[in-house]
């Protein structure tokens, strides 16, 4: 049996982007001149396009005393959570950027956080090898998930909110039961730190990537590896996530490329380049609130917007002094939040 062929989409529920993405694949790239953004020059974007993103800086959130590793909008869009190497998670109002609270308790810097679907809980993966679940509003710890033998590196809630997948430097993925706080399954996934885990929209699959250059798809219920995607140059994969419709994968690799994978076919369909990403995990994300963009930070402190279809750089935001480690797009509003090694969180809004 050829396991490369997975029947049907992983996510049956429709999505707005669902119709757009495939329809343009295979089309000729529009005759638009796109110059790759160099370090100093602003990227030239096509003038004939009118739907370009026009994000401008709105708020600068300062408070972290070390590099901000992850920034995430809550599922309901009300909050921004930022995790930092200073062992704290800070919660901010998404709308006005007001500081809300700080969650402390990790013994080490925090690598990744994930909101629960109901926006009441946060899961955080830390260098102290634990994954912790927090009540956001009270700042109290709900569960401590112990078991990783090295840094917990990535974490994600499943859409139901009852499972947490965590990837670790110990090269394994652990699936945890949120309620009981126990490890349900350990996937001996990779041969290098698992840099990202992400659930599909229906929670049936987990995608993971590792510094060993592999992206693997797992069946959540059985723990079977369904697919392995590997790049030619085998560069470390820093991040991977499902597209909102669950049909594609967006991966960031340390060869300064963001790739869009059709994981059913097992091939890379788009490669977005122009930014610099060779050492850090610069999490790429989709911005789908107006237009469909791929957004990623860069190690030169800028934020790049690509058109998903044309792969052209449509906007570049300059504002961070150091590596932009994380960007996240608001689920409904034209908001973008970015954070980086300089410890500053910035909220960008589209004009």
């Amino acid at each position: 049996m050829d396991k490369m062929d997975l029947d049907g989409p992983a996510d049956s529920s429709g999505d707005t982007t669902d119709s757009e993405l495939p329809s343009h694949y295979g089309n000729a790239v529009p005759d638009i001149s796109v110059t790759k953004a160099s370090a100093n020059a602003k990227p030239v974007v096509a003038t004939e396009r009118t739907d370009l993103p026009k994000y401008v800086l709105q708020f600068v959130l300062e408070g972290h005393r070390a590099g901000v590793t992850t920034v995430k909008f809550s599922a309901d869009g009300r909050w921004i959570a930022t995790s930092s190497a200073d062992k704290t998670i800070k919660i901010w109002h998404a709308e006005n950027g007001e500081y809300e609270t700080t969650i402390e308790g990790h013994g080490r810097g925090i690598n990744d956080i994930a909101w629960s679907p109901d926006s009441n809980m946060l899961a955080s993966a830390s260098d102290d090898k634990t994954v912790r679940i927090w009540n956001v509003m009270s700042g109290r710890i709900l569960r401590t998930l112990r078991g990783h033998t090295n840094y917990a590196y990535s974490v994600d809630f499943n859409p139901k909110g009852n499972l947490i997948a965590s990837g670790s430097f110990d090269e394994s993925i652990k699936i945890w039961d949120v309620k009981r706080g126990v490890c349900l399954r350990t996937l001996p996934a990779h041969s290098d730190p698992v840099s990202a885990v992400h659930f599909t929209r229906d929670g049936t699959m987990i995608v993971s990537c590792s510094h060993d250059g592999q992206i693997r798809l797992w069946d959540t219920s059985t723990g079977q590896c369904l697919k392995t995607l590997i790049e030619d140059n085998n560069s470390p994969v820093s991040c991977v996530r499902f597209s909102p419709n669950g049909k594609y994968l967006l991966s960031g690799t340390l060869d300064s490329a963001v790739r869009l994978w059709d994981y059913l076919k097992g091939r890379c369909v788009k490669t977005y380049q122009g930014h610099k990403n060779e050492k850090f995990i610069c999490v790429p994300t989709f911005s789908i609130t107006r237009g469909v963009w791929v957004v990623s930070g860069s190690e030169d402190g800028r934020i790049f917007f690509w058109d998903v279809q044309t792969k052209e750089v449509v906007q570049v935001l300059d504002g961070h002094k150091d590596v932009v480690l994380a960007v996240d797009a608001h689920p409904t509003k034209n908001l973008l939040v970015s954070a980086g090694l300089d410890g500053v969180v910035k909220i960008w809004i589209e004009r």
């Binding site: 402390e104 308790g105 990790h106 080490r108 690598n111 700042g139 710890i141």
Partner: protein, 1263 residues
């Protein structure tokens, strides 16, 4: 269980006690509803015959009868039917209530004619609604004189005035009209004898009646009543007597004597429910359904006929299916009893009132006091009245009421009465009857029956009772609205009576008693008729009498009382006195009052004791006032409270000085209370800072202190004990005090007094730059960072802070001290000091003084948090504090201070070995620094530490720290001191930037991976077994992997697309511990056997001379050793021996697809592309490659090792080249099998594959 709302409502509505209707009336209520729906129409009640079972007796609106007589008067004026005597009113059907309820018959005139014919058999006649009410009234007779008929077509047929009778409504104010109604009785010849011609005509029904069916099993609605209320028998009657009487009617389902709810005494009532389903089982069910009802009906009927007697009493039996009637009766009784009690002290009581309790003292044997009015009747309940009336009716011989209005009965009785002499000696009053329910029929009382109504007495002297009929009297007085006429035929000689100045009220004198309903009518009658001559022979000399509290009669009564016998009077007075006395004795109100007064006094006394005396005593005992001893916590508290609001600085100062002396004294005397004394100091310090505390003053204090040493200990013992016991609490308190001051002076005013601090700060800045106290300095430090920049300043401030504590006088010397000096000062053999030095050392060791400094100050502040709350809840303060302090003991992970190591909790608070086991963090410092002294030294130790961060609000910050620590330890376990336990063998690599993400990507050396990857860790431990613990861990791990092996295997096979069947093998992992020799022998035997087998097969093959694949025997397979695969330390997976394998033994064959070289190359590329990293291609020769990637045996899992345990040999088996793995050496069970891959050496370093075998002779690369 309380019923739920809906059912509850329903239940309550149908509850017998609350329902005011009998089942019978409920039946008729439907008709009532009909009537209200069609108000204009005449609703015809159903025929009485059909309604028979809910007929008469109890069918009376209860509210009417329960009213007092004066109400009844008004009722009787209303056109509605009112009460009717129930005992014999056979004519009354349920129509009564329906008519009354409908209210539609107001316009309909009463029918005198129907009235006339409404005899005993009226039940059988359907009634016309139009005539119902008046008929009822007339039947009632008592009060029914609301209408007078002017013209009755039935009677006056000659006159053609129409067919409708003409009525005149009679009002009370109406004077007798000229035209009088003709008394129909006068037209009858022998009227008194009762021979009344019955009207032949039957009333036709205006509408059709509702057909009624007998109750059967198909019937809907309530069953016919099967329960009867028996009343009227003596209260002394036994239950069994009653039961025996009624047993003949049917079997009882329920038999309940009714008892007084208060006293529990019998009420002379009894509820009997007859069993419906009779005992006779042969009977049909439908019959059974009505058996109970039939029995009840019979009983009621018999009772109605007077056949039923209990003892000697004729009893009343009434239907009472839902016991509502009974409940009502009881209710009335109770109400009457209370009313009676209230009326007892009434001044007009001429007769000793009936005692409230049923068994009353017998009445005085002497002649009863004369009573001008019938008080007994008045004070009696309607219930008793009813009963008495009923008695009178049932026992008509004793007394004869004569009433023209209550025709049917009265006639009957009257006839009886006219013949029978009335033994009206029954002076016995109500209470007597009640008190002694006489076994013989109780004597009825005339006055009782007259009740509260005015009457006119016509003495026998003037109108002889034996000559004149009552009818004559009635006729003579027919113009007046009298109610009844009684006749009393006294047996006493008239002479005797006349010789006395008697009053008719005193005794029932022979004569006629004409009872009226209204006083005006009576008066009118008296005025007109008094002195008239009757029948030209008898002169009617009348005496008018009014009821007791009728206003018109007051005068009369007074007069009567004057006239009453003096002896009686005195008797009465005596009785009154006695009664009053007894009342006073038993007065519950008085008792209650005295009780309450007593209690109040007690409370007052207690209050005084507690609120005034005790504080005063405490004050006196206050050690501060005694100039010795530490004040008790309470005192301190109150004091502080007081001072916080009223800063009396001078007094404070003095007190504190005293305290200081005290402390010193304790120090010197070696009392083991080092912590108990000092704590007061900070407060002192603050006060001093506020005032002008100079060094000179302090010095003088110091000089004072030795002199105070001699002072004796005058502290109360309990204070000392308290102090001793709660050393820590004291400390805490002291710390709190410090904090009070640190935070701000007036804690009670503000929670966070930022402005206050500001003030302090400015004050300090302006006035005493040098001697600013610690707090202000610290605030300053917080706010003006630049001030903290220079060390000198900081140092100064610390020292000055200490300096400002007056108690530590010797500290003043230390203004310029260095560390040595401090140490020198610590020569005291104090344990705390030792601890302190250790703290210092620790601090130095850690070289984090800066942070510790912050920690420390904040720890102080942190303790202030409770203190701030204290002001709001002063009363709970001590307890709170104790809680705080006992809980605090605080070791938690400190993220700033502790160098990122893990701390595991110990359950106990560590006191002794602090330096070894206490984490040096916020809580650790709190636990170490237990008093002001510690604090001081700690400060000194950390004085050159600079704060690292701006922490903002210190309290908040420290709270956050604690919260974070709590979170780190999974919530909960806060304030538990923790031992430093570094997890053994834990991989620790700290990212300099704080987290892995901020660190960026870096290649992790494989050697480092072995430190944290589980399977490699296991291997490492295996290679370096460190004693038992390692073994234990190993075993545990082994179990762990074996348990976990199941899932990973699946992944991997799926992952690599390996279709081999080896998973089963892998799952069959078990520890095989067998002796090596035994294994050797067995393996050898195996081989021998296999060879024999192979030889046999070969022989057979030759015999068959066919090269059949079916018979191909894989010898190699037979010789295979049991192996399994599992995660390997070297690479992903490895193959492990499951038993001991001797050297040179074959282990396994490397099985796979045999492909040509180009195919293999192609496949290799494809595998690489698909991400199958591992290569499972084994070259046999130049042109042939065995590919085990997709199809193959588990031999492919064997890893490379530079010093292998096995070797791969290519042997020819039956002409085919096979790859077989042989053991190079003896291999132990569970050892991983390895062989040298013998890759070609690569020159390009990029393509070289690092070797991870970890063996001693590792070359570093595979190729």
């Amino acid at each position: 269980m309380p019923p739920t709302s809906r059912t509850g409502v329903h239940l309550s509505s149908s509850h017998p006690s609350s329902s005011y209707r009998d089942p019978a009336s409920r039946k008729s209520s439907s008709k009532t509803d009909l009537a209200t729906f069609f108000p204009d129409r005449v609703v015809v009640p159903t025929g009485p015959r059909n309604d028979r079972y809910n007929a008469p007796l109890n069918h009376r609106p209860a509210g009417v009868d329960s009213r007092p007589p004066e109400d009844q008067e008004s009722i009787s004026r209303s056109p509605h039917p009112t009460s009717m005597p129930s005992s014999s009113s056979s004519s009354v059907s349920s129509n009564a209530s329906s008519a009354g309820a409908s209210g539609s018959s107001r316009s309909s005139p009463p029918d005198e004619h129907a009235d006339d014919g409404n005899g005993g058999d009226s039940i059988s006649r359907p009634a016309r609604t139009a005539v119902q009410k008046p008929r009822l009234e007339s039947v009632l007779g008592l009060h029914g004189k609301s209408y007078q008929i002017e013209y009755d077509p039935d009677l006056d047929k000659t006159k053609s005035r129409g067919k409708e009778p003409i009525y005149r409504k009679k009002t009370s104010s109406s004077t007798p009209v000229a035209r009088r109604a003709v008394d129909p009785r006068n037209l009858v010849a022998q009227y008194p004898s009762g021979a009344v011609p019955r009207p032949r005509r039957r009333l036709h029904m205006p509408t059709l009646t509702v057909l009624k069916y007998a109750f059967d099993s198909n019937s809907v609605g309530p069953r016919p009543p099967s329960q009867v209320l028996v009343s009227g028998f003596s209260r002394l009657t036994k239950e069994s007597v009653v039961a025996m009487q009624f047993r003949e009617y049917g079997e009882f389902e329920n038999f309940a004597m009714q008892k007084d709810p208060i006293t529990g005494a019998s009420l002379g009532m009894c509820l009997i429910r007859f069993r419906n389903a009779g005992s006779k089982k042969s009977e049909k069910k439908s019959v059974d359904l009505l058996a109970g009802h039939a029995a009840a009906k019979r009983a009621v009927k018999d009772a109605h006929l007077g056949k039923v007697k209990v003892g000697f009493d004729s009893v009343t039996v009434e239907f009472d299916d839902d016991a509502s009637l009974c409940a009502r009766r009881i209710d009335e009784l109770a109400r009457e009893a209370t009313k009676q009690q209230q009326k007892q002290p009434a001044p007009v009581q001429t007769v000793p009132p009936p005692p409230p309790s049923p068994p009353p003292p017998p009445p005085p044997p002497e002649s009863p006091p004369p009573s001008p009015s019938p008080p007994p009747g008045r004070s009696r309940s309607p219930y008793y009245q009813q009963h008495s009336r009923r008695y009178s009716r049932s026992r008509s011989r004793s007394l004869t009421p004569v009433s023209s209005r209550s025709r049917s009965r009265d006639r009957y009785y009257n006839s009886d009465d006219s013949r029978s002499p009335s033994p009206s000696r029954s002076r016995s009053h109500g209470y007597r009857r009640r008190a002694q329910p006489p076994p013989p029929p109780p004597k009825d009382d005339l006055f009782t029956r007259i009740g509260n109504r005015p009457y006119i007495f016509i003495s026998d002297l003037y109108v002889p009772v034996d000559r004149v009929y009552t009818a004559d009297i009635k006729d003579y007085l027919r113009d007046y609205d009298w109610v009844q006429v009684y006749v009393v035929k006294d047996t006493l000689p008239l002479k005797y009576e006349t010789s006395h100045r008697y009053h008719p009220k005193q005794r029932e004198l022979s004569g006629f008693y004409v009872v009226f309903d209204s006083a005006t009518e009576t008066k009118a009658c008296f005025r007109h008729m008094d002195g008239r001559t009757m029948d030209r022979r008898w002169r009617m000399n009348m005496q008018i009498q009014f009821p007791v509290d009728d206003q018109d009669d007051r005068r009369l009564r007074e007069r009567n009382r004057e006239r009453s016998d003096s002896r009686v009077k005195t008797d009465k007075d005596d009785a009154k006195k006695v009664k009053a006395k007894s009342v006073r004795q038993a007065d519950p109100v008085m008792d209650a009052t005295t009780l309450i007064l007593k209690e109040l006094q007690e409370a007052l006394r207690k209050d005084i004791k507690e609120r005034i005396t005790l504080p005063a005593i405490y004050d006196k005992l206050d050690p501060a006032k005694l100039r010795a001893g530490t004040p008790s916590p309470e005192a301190v508290k109150t004091e502080r409270i007081a001072t916080s609001s009223f800063p009396e600085v001078k007094d404070e100062h003095k007190v504190d000085v005293a305290n200081v002396e005290e402390n010193n004294l304790h120090m010197s005397t070696g009392v083991k209370q080092f912590s108990g004394k000092l704590p007061l100091l900070p407060r002192f310090k603050k006060r001093n800072a506020e005032t002008t505390s100079t060094k000179a003053q302090l010095l003088s204090n110091k000089s004072l202190s030795p002199s105070a040493k001699g002072a004796g200990m005058s502290r109360p013992m309990n204070h000392q004990l308290n102090d001793y016991v709660s050393d820590e609490e004291d400390v805490a308190e002291m710390d709190d005090k410090v904090d009070d001051e640190l935070i701000g002076k007036h804690v009670s005013h503000q929670r966070k007094d930022e402005p206050r601090i500001e003030i302090d700060y400015s004050e300090a800045d302006d006035e005493r730059e040098d001697e600013t106290d610690f707090v202000t300095k610290f605030r300053q430090l917080d706010k003006n960072r630049e001030n903290l920049e220079d060390d000198v300043n900081l140092k100064d401030f610390v020292v000055s802070g200490e300096e400002s504590e007056p108690g530590k006088v010797d500290d003043i010397v230390m203004t310029n001290i260095d560390e040595e000096l401090i140490r020198a000062a610590e020569t005291k053999p104090s344990k705390k000091r030792k601890q302190l030095t250790s703290i210092e050392k620790q601090a130095e060791k850690k070289r984090r003084k800066k942070l510790v400094r912050i920690e420390f100050t904040t720890s102080e502040e942190d303790e202030a948090t409770p203190a701030t709350t204290v002001s709001t809840e002063i009363k709970t303060e001590p307890i709170e504090r104790i809680d705080q302090e006992t809980k605090i003991p605080p070791e938690e992970h400190d993220f700033d201070l502790v160098d990122e190591s893990y701390w595991k909790p110990t359950s106990t608070l560590i006191v002794d070995n602090i330096e070894a086991e206490t984490v040096f963090d916020l809580d650790g410092v709190q636990s170490i620094v237990s008093d002001a002294e510690d604090l001081k030294y700690f400060q000194i130790a950390l004085e050159d530490v600079k704060p690292a961060l701006d922490i903002g609000n210190v309290i908040f910050w420290s709270w956050q720290q604690k919260e974070a620590k709590a979170n780190f330890f999974d919530g909960g376990r806060r304030g538990v001191s923790r031992k430093l336990v570094r997890p053994e063998d834990e991989y620790e690599r700290i990212n300099a930037s704080g987290s892995a993400r901020t660190e960026g990507y870096y290649r992790i050396p494989e050697t480092e991976k072995t430190e944290y990857l589980e399977h490699r860790k296991r291997l490492r431990k295996k290679k370096h077994p460190d004693g038992d613990t390692a073994n234990g861990v190993l075993n545990g791990d082994a179990a762990d992997t074996s348990g976990r092996a199941g899932t990973p295997v699946d992944h991997d096979t799926a992952n690599d697309g390996d279709a081999s069947t080896s998973t089963t093998l892998a799952l069959a992992s078990a520890t095989l511990d067998a002796g090596a020799e035994k294994d050797n022998i067995s393996s050898r035997l195996n081989r021998i056997n296999n060879r024999r087998l192979a030889a046999d097969i070969n022989l057979q093959k030759q015999m068959l001379s066919t090269d059949n694949d079916v018979l191909r025997f894989n010898q190699l397979k037979k010789r295979k050793k049991p192996v399994r695969f599992a995660r390997s330390a070297i690479h992903n997976w490895g193959l492990y021996a499951m038993e001991n394998i001797p050297a040179n033994d074959m282990i396994i064959e490397y099985v796979g697809e045999v492909v040509r070289q180009p195919v293999a190359d192609m496949r290799e590329r494809r595998y690489l592309k698909n991400g199958i990293g591992s290569s499972y291609l084994f070259r046999i020769d130049e042109s042939t490659v065995v590919d085990a990637t997709k199809r193959g045996g588990i031999a492919r899992f064997i890893n490379h090792c530079c010093t292998p345990s096995c070797t791969a040999k290519i042997i020819k088996v039956e002409g085919q080249k096979r790859i077989v793995i042989y053991a190079l050496r003896d291999i132990m069970a569970n050892e991983e099998l390895t062989y040298d891959y013998k890759f070609e050496r690569e020159v390009n370093s990029d393509e070289r594959i690092p070797c991870l075998c970890g063996s001693s002779g590792c070359k570093g690369f595979l190729n």
